[in-house]
Amino acid sequence: MPPKQTNPANRGRGAANKPAASRTPQSRTSSSGGRPTATGKNGSQARDREIVEITSDTVGEDDDVEEEDHEEEEEVVHSDEEPAKTIQPELLKALLHEFFENENTRITKDANQAVAQYMDVFVREAIARSAVERDGPFLEVEDLEKISPQLLLDL
């Protein structure tokens, strides 16, 4: 299914780049190049027709630009979530409260954020030191075993 979705998009861009070229040869070339495993001729033709219909909806360059804008918007949303690549402060708060011995112990938002940074450094330091330890591509548990004593003393 995904290839079917991406193909029309590629074609849409191609059509936008070369508006003079007729659509049919383009769809032929990409169906032979991009999808060599297409089933019988009838099937591929039907699919081509389908795709042409789809592209004709999104041929205009404006449409393409709009699409890209949407993508960018999505990316912006993702980059908003980028801090989620650290341990989320909410999760850390829950963890800390889990380990506090006294139920009445509270933590300020700023302090929680600072601990989040601390733990982020901890994790990234562990990975970086393990990466130094290991020559091959895959980081293994034994690398972590080698670096953990010093890491725990350092942080």
Partner: protein, 110 residues
């Protein structure tokens, strides 16, 4: 029953932490053009879990020592007292947070 629920909470927290650590590992290894075994991620998550436990008890003790029941940024700075660079990093963000707060208050007063 209460014990069981608590056990469940821990289980969920551990799963969430595992996931978070996995994401950071993916992020870092991608940048270094490396890869990590699932066992590595699991072991690291376990280590982070232990470290958070240590940190939590330390912070609680620090705040109690200062006669507070609320953990503040001062306690976190004390946590990083042995590593000058880390201390500087955290102090930097704490100071930025404070500056942002003052700014926000100034705007609110206007």
């Amino acid at each position: 029953m209460a014990d069981l629920a608590e056990e469940d909470v821990r289980e969920n927290l551990k799963a969430a932490l595992w996931y978070a650590v996995g994401k950071i590992v993916d992020d870092e290894t991608l940048r270094k053009n490396r890869n990590a075994t699932p066992q590595f991620i699991g072991a690291l998550a376990e280590m982070v879990w232990q470290q958070i436990e240590n940190v939590a008890t330390d912070l609680e003790t620090f705040s109690r020592h200062a006669g507070r029941t609320t953990v503040t940024t001062d306690d976190v700075l004390l946590l990083a007292r042995r590593n000058i660079d880390l201390h500087a990093m955290i102090k930097d963000t704490v100071d930025k947070q404070k500056a942002a707060k003052v700014k926000g208050k100034g705007k609110a007063n206007r």
